[in-house]
């Protein structure tokens, strides 16, 4: 058990939020996810790094209920402390979880946003899906969240396609956080953005994660992003976890040859 986890235990949150046991989803031998175990505690950010094709995205899809695994369990602790086996509960429960308790930030904002409707409607959609029927409330919530993610509130009625890449990504984050989820999955949230925009986004994300006490599963191939955001790190290769531990520990003192290679391959300007 990690220090962060110990702290949580002392506060009375003795349960991990997400418990993954021997998760397996193979497209071919060595392709996909081949037996992954981990625990994610409330307020913890777990980074998953690894090269392309190492199974990062497949793992994320399995975790977030979008891809049924071949075997293994994923146990989620609900708001009332109830244990939910993600692939045993009904599809309706799973989809409700996805819309309320969870958030998914896609690499491409286009996959996560409705490009045909305004920014305000994008933020309000989840609220309307769980029964909010007051336009004024939706409107003010929309404005509040635009401010939160540093988008000019005057743009609330503009279509996301008129936004820049960084703004689209921030809008996607706002859209996910509006129902105050407890667990957010992020797939390369800073991919495709230039470094200055990346820095601002990361800064914002870090603040939001701390303020809202979010648990995050963060998939990235950028070690700098992992170091900045995540407490725990998992290094994947060929569908297997080759090293797992505290982020600083792994990045400063990698043990596995592949982790060493990964850390030594980072370019420094």
């Amino acid at each position: 058990m990690t220090n962060a986890a110990m702290a949580m235990t002392e506060e009375g949150l003795a349960e991990p939020l997400l418990k993954v046991n021997d998760l397996r989803k193979l497209y071919a031998p060595g392709k996909g996810v081949d037996g992954v175990d981990f625990e994610l505690w409330p307020g913890e950010v777990l980074g998953i790094v690894g090269e392309s094709g190492s199974g990062k995205t497949t793992l994320l899809q399995c975790l977030s209920g979008m891809l049924t695994p071949d075997s293994g369990q994923i146990e989620y602790t609900g708001k009332q402390g109830d244990k939910l086996d993600i692939y045993k509960i009904t599809e309706s429960q799973r989809r409700l979880l996805l819309r309320t308790d969870w958030g998914i930030v896609h690499q491409h904002p286009r996959d996560g946003l409705r490009m045909g409707v305004s920014a305000g409607a994008n933020i309000g959609e989840r609220l309307m899906a769980i029964g909010e029927r007051h336009y004024g409330t939706l409107r003010s919530t929309g404005e509040a969240w635009l401010r939160e993610v540093e988008i000019d509130t005057a743009r609330i009625d503009d279509l996301p396609r008129t936004f820049s890449g960084g703004m689209q990504q921030r809008l996607q984050i706002a859209r996910n956080l509006v129902t105050q989820p407890r667990l957010v999955f992020m797939d390369e949230p800073t991919g495709g953005l230039d470094v200055s925009v990346q820095a601002r986004l990361l800064d914002m994300l870090r603040n939001l994660v701390v303020d809202l006490g979010l648990s995050v599963v963060l998939v990235t191939h950028d070690l700098a992003v992992a170091r900045l955001l995540s407490h725990q790190l998992m290094v994947m290769r060929g569908g297997k976890v080759v090293e797992q531990g505290l982020t600083d520990q792994i990045l400063d003192d990698p043990q596995h040859p592949y982790s060493q290679l990964l850390v030594s391959s980072v370019l420094t300007p």
Binding site: R95, Y135, D157
Partner: protein, 297 residues
Amino acid sequence: MTSAALNHNPDSQNDSTGYNFAYLDEQTKRMIRRCLLKAVAVPGYQVPFGGREMPLPYGWGTGGMQVTATIIGQDDVLKVIDQGADDTTNAVSIRRFFARTAGVATTESTREASVIQTRHRIPETPLSHGQILVYQVPIPDPLRFIEPRETETRKMHALQEYGVMHVKLYEDIARFGHIATTYAYPVKVNGHYVMDPSPIPKFDNPKMHGNPALQLFGAGREKRIYAIPPFTRVESLDFEDHPFEIQGWDQACEFCGSDHSFLDEVVTDDEGGRIFICSDTDYCNQRFETGARQEAV
């Protein structure tokens, strides 16, 4: 009605045309009747059916015609309206089609009709128990505009994931300051399925609620049937602070003086002259003949 249709001898052909009674063969009618039963049992649910080729193009009422052909019997009296009018091309053609292929009596009077096929309107005259209203539907799925995948929309209907319907209304208010959807206004049927009421004006939406008549919807191109049984709860979607409202007019009908029916604007000259008349011709004629205007004056 259907009792007469079921008693009808399937082997007998209409001597003058050579077609089976009401054009469709009996096997097809049985298939459509099964779908209709399912549709009535699950109000608002879209039941797929094996749509047949009809002797007119998609979009001209093929879905409605197949439903009508299936439920009509020899004793039925048929009325067909298009945008409320009995005398427009589409209405005249479909009425004549059934007069020829089924030999049934036709009427323009809403009260006398037992089956009414309609495009874009619900008659102003209140319907009574035992009457059947058949709608022609172009796009049956209200979720289609925002979710193009059929597999996904079916799931959304099953799980009642209707948040996106309000996204559409939200967009209206954000853009125009009020709910600007005026026709095909989405409704929730019997507290579960959200349904596209076909392109009727939202003026007619309240008439669907608790209507004593049976309402059947047929979409020919999309091959879907759905229904609202008599006395079913039908609610139009809205926001708490932007409630559902129907259209209103400052004018009254030029012919009959009605100030409570759905009015069409008619341009009369090229100098800005225009009049408003009832879109429901039968209703307008009735009022005109009974001298409602004189009484009003």
